[in-house]
Amino acid sequence: MKIHEYQAKALLAQYGIPVPRGKVASNPDEVREIAAEIGGKVVIKAQVYAGGRGKAGGIKIVNSPAEAKKAASQLIGTRLVTHQTGPEGVLVSKVLVEEASNVARELYLSILVDGTSRWPVMMVSEAGGMEIEEVAQSAPEKIFKSYIDPAIGFQPFQGRRLAYGVNFDGGQIGEATRLMTNLYKLFIDKDCSLAEINPLVVTADGKLLALDAKLNFDDNALYRHKDIQELQDKEQEEPLEIQARDWGINNYVKMDGDIGCMVNGAGLAMAVNDLIQYCGGRAANFLDIGTLNNTERVVNSFKMFIADPRIKAVLVNIFGGMARVDVIAKGIVEAYQQMDIPFPVVIRLAGTNLAEGQRILDKSGVSFIQAKDFYDGARKVVEAAKGVMK
């Protein structure tokens, strides 16, 4: 799960990490008031779940409350298009108003769980403001890493090693070590999947400051962080994906085609989308119904297809394991009973309780296109979407 920069900074501040003085606002008048309160030069930052805001014009530096109001009115209510958003962009409904900082140096600092060592890793680099992947490719020697033994946590010597590595000096060594220790504590306490301060700046008077902040959280751990769950801004997410979650379908991703897919299992669902493309079609979504054995989620998947005006045909591909084919079949029949299905549906069933599932479908009298296997299903649904097969 993602949160906004202003929320991430509030969490950093709670953990004793210095952030610029500032406040969030949702209309230009508020922005003017905050700018007047802060005084002098201020920065107006669009709050969106996407990086690349600076280059996209989502960050503006202004000299007066009047200019602040004007800049805010050009951002709030518009859609910001960055290299991380689609061409439709994301809605800016809030801006963060902050005092402008006098920056002497820009660095990069982050923590994530390293997949190979399976330990959290603290990374720091002098190439602040750049994306870490670019630095990793162009100048890997500029990234200093410390792997953190989860049994003992982040240790001061690791902080000193990293701080000396990026040429901090004097009081900055202790300051940076405390900052890293606090960031690690936040990372662990809140089950983060990424804690990133980019840039971490040294101000003209030698102090460290988190100028930007990004915190991502482990979805699997949200059950134990109600405070974090409440920070989610649904406006920033794809409406169909929010709708899917509200209907209990957690594994739904909107894609750019016109073929609706309902599959059990994430790997099979990805493979179905790949195969549809191979057969000349495009999937409208990734949908893994998961393993919960109830018909409601099947019915809700059909509601999703109906809610999506792009859908021209649907492929149901179920290989029962933990999910049982008979339950899925009952769900499909219920969906046909509850709603008018305006598009052709191709069904391929296999696995646990197949015979019973097939019997339920055949007996129900619902009209569908039977596929004998995976490939057959993909081919038939692509034809159906093109109107060749009804």
Binding site: G115, S193, A266, G267, L268, M270, G351
Partner: protein, 291 residues
């Protein structure tokens, strides 16, 4: 032969009395797996599906000589269940549970260091040696005993591949679902090593997906250490970057996480790439005929 599980496996089921635990334990027993014990705290002393239930793994192992454990415990408690099994000295732990927090798995991996337990999963379909032992939730009757080893990050996609192989008359030595999480207990490389050493495995099918670098590490191992042919498929060629595709580990965060990069690495390492997920069986057939 086979790897990880066989006719000598004495299976213990953690969470045997829950609904998923019950359903799948019954299927394992019907397949012929020796399920010798169940563990559900508070239900020790009873019997479930004809299997004695214990409060602790320690007690269950002492009384039944269980040597492998299969976990169906809910996500908030599953890491604790894995730790209990490791502590009791279980040699194989297979965790089916999906949704364990990553930082819980960080602790589990820390505890696993210097222990002899092999962990498979979590968020996986389990391990199956056809005709010998089914320790998982996979469909039993699609499998056929034989000489092809399977390793996969996916569950249902593996079932599809297995049924493709079986319908072509190609049997399997062992099918290992390593799971879809970011920190699996065993990686592709861990299992490739076991298949390379297994006399009855003649070829290996590897089913990868987007996210992480496990396929690249597998490619490295294949090019330097593997003498047996490997057939590979990587799911998620059409997946958009930055989106989690169902599995916790299936998210493209850097260029290495893309399907195309993984396919390139595996192909350069000498693995034969199946052009589509529906042709893994046929590709394997050709590879076996030419080897």
């Amino acid at each position: 032969m086979s790897i990880l599980v066989d006719e000598n496996t004495r299976l213990l089921v953690q969470g045997i009395t829950g609904s998923e635990g019950s359903f799948h334990t019954q299927r394992c027993i019907e397949y012929g797996t020796k399920v010798v014990a169940g563990v559900t705290p508070g239900k020790g002393g009873s019997k479930h599906l004809g299997v004695p239930v214990f409060n602790t793994i320690e007690k269950a192992m002492a009384e039944t000589r269980a040597n492998a454990s299969l976990i169906f415990v809910p996500p908030a408690f599953a890491a604790d269940g894995i730790l209990e099994a490791i502590d009791a000295g279980m040699s194989l732990v297979v965790c089916i549970t999906e949704g364990i927090p990553v930082l819980e798995m960080v602790k589990v991996h820390r505890y696993l260091k210097d222990k002899s337990t092999r962990l498979i999963g979590p968020n996986c379909p389990g391990v199956m040696s056809p005709g010998k032992c089914k320790a998982g939730i996979m469909v039993g009757d699609i499998h056929l005993p034989g000489n092809v080893g399977i390793i996969s990050r996916s569950g249902t996609l593996t079932y599809d591949v297995v049924s493709q192989l079986t319908s072509l008359g190609i049997g399997q030595s062992t099918c290992v679902g390593i799971g879809g999480d970011t920190l699996p207990g065993s990686t592709f490389v861990d299992i490739l090593k076991l298949f390379q050493a297994d006399q009855d495995t003649k070829a290996v099918v590897l089913i990868g997906e987007i996210g992480g670098t496990m396929e690249q590490e597998a490619a490295e191992f294949i090019s330097h250490k593997m003498t047996k042919p490997v057939v590979a498929f990587v799911a998620g060629s059409t997946a958009p970057p930055g989106k989690r595709m169902g599995h916790a580990g299936a998210i493209i965060t850097g260029s290495a996480g893309k399907a195309s990069e993984k396919i390139k690495a595996l192909s350069q390492a000498g693995a034969t790439i199946a052009p589509t997920p529906a042709e893994v069986g046929l590709t394997t057939k050709k590879v076996l005929e030419n080897s």
